[in-house]
C-alpha cells in the first residue's frame, strides 16, 4: 500500500481514484432497481453503503464486477472501463465477499484460498500454500486450514471467504452484508477481521446493517434509497445530523428508539 495511514483510525481516502461509477442504471425486466448511481472511491477509502432491504445495495456491488450486467452507465476501475473484454482480468483485482460465504464445499479452507492463485495466476503450489497459510493466520484460522467448510461455523466460513478474496491481492475489496447470515454471537469475529483490514489502509466498499461498525470504520457513508444515493458524507454527519427525512427515518428504524 502506498497510502500512509494512521492505524486504527478511518482513512480519509485521498489517494488516486480506484473506482468511478457514472450514471449506473440496472433494471430487472420492468423493475428499475438502480436509477442513476454515480460515486467515486479513492485508494485507502472505506465506503459504506447503508439502506433498507431492497434498496439496491447488492445489485450495485454486483454491477461493479459484473455479476449483473448494468443496463446503462459506466464503471471505471483505475484506468480501465470495465467491459466484457477485460472482465476476468479486472475481477482478479476486486475481491468480493458474499453474504452467504459461497465457499467451495469440496475443498478445504486452505484449498479454498489457494485455488484462485493457482489456476488464475498460475502460482506454484508451494508459494500459493505459503501465502494462503499467512492469510488464514491473518483471519485467525491457522488451526482450521485442513477442515472442510461443512466443518466450520458460519463466522469461520466467512473469515475463510475473506482470506480467499485477499489471495489475489485485490486493489478493492467489496463486502455484501458479510455478517447478515451469521448468528449474533459470530458477528464480532468477522467485523474484527474487517476492522484490521480497514486499519491496514485497504480500499473497501461495504454494504452492511451494522451501524456501529459502519460509523467506526467508514471514511464515507452513502445512504441508498430506492436505487438512488439520497444522501452521502462523512459518518459523523450522516449519523449525527442527517439532512434528509428518509435518512432520519431509516436510522431511527435500524438504531431503535
Amino acid at each position: 500500500m502506498t497510502t500512509t495511514t494512521i492505524p486504527g483510525s478511518p482513512t480519509n481516502g485521498s489517494g488516486p481514484p480506484v473506482l468511478a461509477i457514472r450514471d449506473l442504471h440496472k433494471s430487472f425486466g420492468k423493475l428499475e432497481v438502480l436509477k442513476g448511481i454515480s460515486l467515486e472511491m479513492r485508494e485507502g477509502q472505506v465506503s459504506v453503503l447503508i439502506g433498507a432491504s431492497g434498496s439496491g445495495k447488492s445489485t450495485l456491488m454486483r454491477c461493479v464486477n459484473r455479476l449483473e450486467t448494468p443496463t446503462q452507465g459506466t464503471v471505471r476501475f483505475r484506468d480501465t472501463e470495465i467491459g466484457p473484454a477485460n472482465l476476468t482480468r479486472v475481477r482478479r483485482e476486486i475481491g468480493f465477499v458474499f453474504q452467504r460465504f459461497n465457499l467451495f464445499p469440496h475443498l478445504t479452507a486452505l484449498e479454498n484460498v489457494t485455488l484462485a492463485p493457482r489456476c488464475v495466476l498460475g502460482a506454484p503450489a508451494e508459494q500459493a500454500e505459503r501465502e494462503a497459510r499467512e492469510l488464514l493466520e491473518q483471519v485467525h484460522l491457522s488451526a482450521k486450514a485442513d477442515n472442510y467448510p461443512a466443518e466450520l461455523s458460519g463466522g469461520q466460513q466467512q473469515r475463510v471467504a475473506i482470506a480467499r478474496a485477499l489471495a489475489l491481492r485485490p486493489a478493492l475489496l467489496m463486502f455484501d452484508e458479510p455478517t447478515s447470515a451469521l448468528d449474533p454471537e459470530l458477528v464480532g469475529e468477522v467485523l474484527e477481521v474487517m476492522r484490521d483490514l480497514a486499519a491496514e489502509g485497504r480500499t473497501m466498499l461495504i454494504a452492511t446493517h451494522e451501524m456501529g461498525f459502519a460509523r467506526e470504520v467508514a471514511s464515507h457513508v452513502m445512504f441508498l434509497h430506492l436505487g438512488q444515493i439520497l444522501e452521502e458524507g462523512p459518518p459523523d454527519q450522516i449519523f449525527e445530523s442527517p439532512r434528509e427525512a428518509r435518512t432520519r427515518e431509516f436510522l431511527a428504524r435500524v438504531l431503535g428508539p
Partner: protein, 506 residues
C-alpha cells in the same frame, strides 16, 4: 430370493396348453389346435397384410381339418419357439423345422413333410464364392439356431466368422450391406426372399446338405403326432399336397417327391422325455457355464466400453445444452429428445441396417458400441445437466468473482461437486445399460442374454439356463451398486460434517 421368484413365475406361466399322454384327446375336447410359427420364412410362413400365409399355414389348416378341429396360429420369435412348445404354449410347431438328431433329443417330430436342403446366397457376381468349399475365410450369415447355422458349423468354420441373426432376412441384409460375405439357409426360403426383396443377391450352386422338414411336438404328445402323421398321409395321397406345393413354391411338385417322402416316413420320431422343461438340471450347467461366462464377458466389455466413451460424451452434451450459444444448446436438446423419444432397439437397427444405405457399413461390434454409446450419452447428459444445475448459483458467482473464466470455474468448482452428486444416478444408468446391452443381440452379437437364449432353445430345460443367466447378471450389477455406496461414504465430508461444527472461536 430372486431365483425362487423367477422359478415360481416360470411355473405359473407354464399353464398354457395341456400337456399329457392324451394330448390329441385334449385338442379335440378344446376344439382348437394351437400351432406356433415364426412368420419370417416365406414361402413356408410369412405375414402379409396382417395375415399369416404360406405353405406351412395351408398345410397346418388342412391337418386341423383332418383332426376335426380349428387351428389357431401363434406368431413367435424363432429362438424362443421350442422353449414355448416345451412349456405348453403351443401343441405343435410348424415353421419349416428341419429334423435333426440333436433336436430329436428333446423334441418329437412328425414324418417329413418337405424335402429341403441348405444352399448359399452371395452378392450378385461375387466370384469369390462358388460353392460350400469356399466358405472358410468368409463371413457367413445365418439365422441363429437353424440348420443353416449347423451346416455352417459342420464345415468347421471358426465361431467368430459365423454371424447369427434373429431372422433370415436380416442375414441377407447383412450380406447385401457387405457386413458379411455369404448367407446360408434353406433353398426354398432363400430363393423366395431373394426373388421378392434382394435383387442384389443370388443363390448359387445346388443344395449342399440334404434336409427333411417336419412338424414338432412335445415329447409327451406321441398320440398327437400319430394323428398328424395320419393326416399328412391323406393330404399327400389325395393330391392336396401337390396343389399347395405348386402354389407356394412356384413350380410343380417333382414327380419323385411323394414317393421319397413316403420312403422317409420313419425319419421322424425322437423325443425321449427328458423330464419337464421346468426341472432344474444342474448337469446342464457344466457345459453351459463356460459359454455363459464368455457371454457375460462380452456383456461387460460392451457395457464398459460404452460407459468409457459415453460418460465424457454425455458431459459434453450437458455442457452444450447449458451453453449460452443458442444453436449449440438447441442441437444438444434435439439430440437428447430424439434419443430419449425412440426405442434403443430401433437405434441399434438404424445404425446397423440403415446406415449402410448411405455408405456407412459398420461391423456388428462397432455398431453395437456406437448405438449404445449414442444412447447412453443422451441419458448421461441429462444426468450431468441436472447435476450441474443443482449446484448453488453462488458457487459459479464466487468462482467468477475470483477472476476464473467459465472453463476454469467449471473444471475446478462446479464439476468436482457435480461428479459427487451424479454418482448415484450414473450408477443406475450403468446398471440399466448393462441390462440394455442385451438388445444388441439382434445384430448378431453373442452377449450373455443371447447365449442364454441359444442354449435354452436346445437344452430341454430352459429354466436352468435362464436362472444361470439371471444369477450372472446379478453378479455383475450388485458389485456395481455396492462400489458406489462405498465411494459415497468416502466423500461424505462434503455433504455432511464429520464432526459437529465447532462454533467456538479458535
Amino acid at each position: 430370493m430372486f431365483p425362487v421368484l423367477l422359478a415360481a413365475l416360470l411355473l405359473l406361466a407354464g399353464g398354457g396348453v395341456a400337456r399329457a399322454e392324451n394330448a390329441l384327446e385334449q385338442v379335440r375336447e378344446r376344439g382348437e389346435l394351437v400351432i406356433g410359427t415364426d412368420a419370417t420364412y416365406p414361402p413356408f410362413e410369412s405375414k402379409v397384410g396382417g395375415r399369416l400365409e404360406g405353405f406351412d399355414i395351408d398345410l397346418g389348416n388342412q391337418i386341423g381339418k383332418e383332426l376335426g378341429v380349428k387351428v389357431r396360429w401363434v406368431n413367435s420369435a424363432w429362438d424362443g419357439i421350442f422353449p414355448a412348445l416345451r412349456t405348453g404354449k403351443f401343441d405343435l410347431v410348424m415353421s419349416g423345422v428341419t429334423i435333426t438328431d440333436e433336436r430329436k433329443q428333446n423334441l418329437l417330430f412328425s414324418r417329413p413333410y418337405f424335402l429341403s436342403g441348405q444352399t448359399l446366397a452371395r452378392r450378385r457376381g461375387d466370384r469369390r464364392i462358388g460353392s460350400a468349399d469356399d466358405l472358410p475365410g468368409k463371413i457367413v450369415c445365418v439365422q441363429q439356431e437353424t440348420t443353416g447355422q449347423t451346416a455352417a458349423e459342420k464345415r468347421g468354420l471358426p465361431p467368430e466368422s459365423i454371424r447369427k441373426f434373429e431372422t433370415l432376412p436380416e442375414a441377407l441384409l447383412a450380406v447385401r450391406n457387405r457386413q458379411g460375405d455369404v448367407a446360408v439357409g434353406d433353398l426354398p426360403a432363400l430363393r423366395d426372399l431373394i426373388r421378392k426383396g434382394y435383387p442384389e443377391l443370388e443363390v448359387i450352386g445346388g443344395v449342399f446338405v440334404q434336409e427333411n422338414v417336419g412338424i414338432v411336438a412335445d415329447p409327451r404328445s406321441g398320440d398327437l403326432i400319430r394323428g398328424v402323421d395320419a393326416a399328412l398321409q391323406r393330404i399327400l395321397d389325395d393330391g392336396r399336397y401337390g396343389r399347395m406345393y405348386a402354389l407356394w413354391l412356384g413350380e410343380p411338385l417333382p414327380a419323385a417327391d411323394v414317393a421319397r417322402l413316403n420312403g422317409l416316413a420313419a425319419v421322424g420320431g425322437g423325443g425321449v422325455d427328458s423330464g419337464s422343461a421346468f426341472t432344474i438340471r444342474w448337469d446342464l450347467l457344466q457345459n453351459a457355464l463356460p459359454l455363459l461366462l464368455r457371454g457375460a464377458v462380452t456383456t461387460l466389455y460392451i457395457t464398459g466400453l460404452t460407459l468409457l466413451i459415453g460418460t465424457p460424451l454425455g458431459l459434453l452434451v450437458a455442457l452444450a445444452r447449458l451453453s449460452g450459444f443458442r444453436p449449440l444448446s438447441t442441437a444438444a436438446a434435439f439430440y437428447v429428445e430424439v434419443i430419449r423419444g425412440t426405442p434403443l432397439l430401433l437405434q441399434i437397427f438404424v445404425i446397423y441396417f440403415v446406415l449402410p444405405a448411405v455408405g456407412i457399413s459398420l461391423p456388428a461390434f462397432v455398431a453395437a458400441v456406437l448405438a449404445l454409446t449414442l444412447n447412453a450419452a443422451a441419458y448421461i447428459g441429462e444426468i450431468f445437466r441436472a447435476g450441474i444445475q443443482s449446484i448453488d448459483t453462488g458457487q459459479m458467482e464466487a468462482a467468477r468473482a475470483l477472476g476464473m473464466d467459465y472453463g476454469a470455474a467449471m473444471r475446478w468448482v462446479i464439476l468436482p461437486q457435480t461428479v459427487r452428486r451424479v454418482l448415484p444416478p450414473l450408477t443406475n444408468e450403468a446398471v440399466a445399460l448393462l441390462k440394455d446391452s442385451s438388445l444388441v443381440s439382434v445384430i448378431a452379437l453373442t452377449e450373455l442374454t443371447r447365449v442364454g437364449r441359444e442354449l435354452s432353445t436346445n437344452s430341454g430345460s430352459p429354466i436352468t439356463i435362464y436362472l444361470a443367466v439371471a444369477v450372472l447378471y446379478l453378479a455383475m450389477t450388485l458389485p456395481l451398486t455396492y462400489l458406489v455406496r462405498r465411494l459415497e461414504d468416502r466423500w461424505q465430508p462434503i455433504s455432511r460434517p464429520r464432526a459437529k461444527a465447532v462454533a467456538a472461536k479458535p
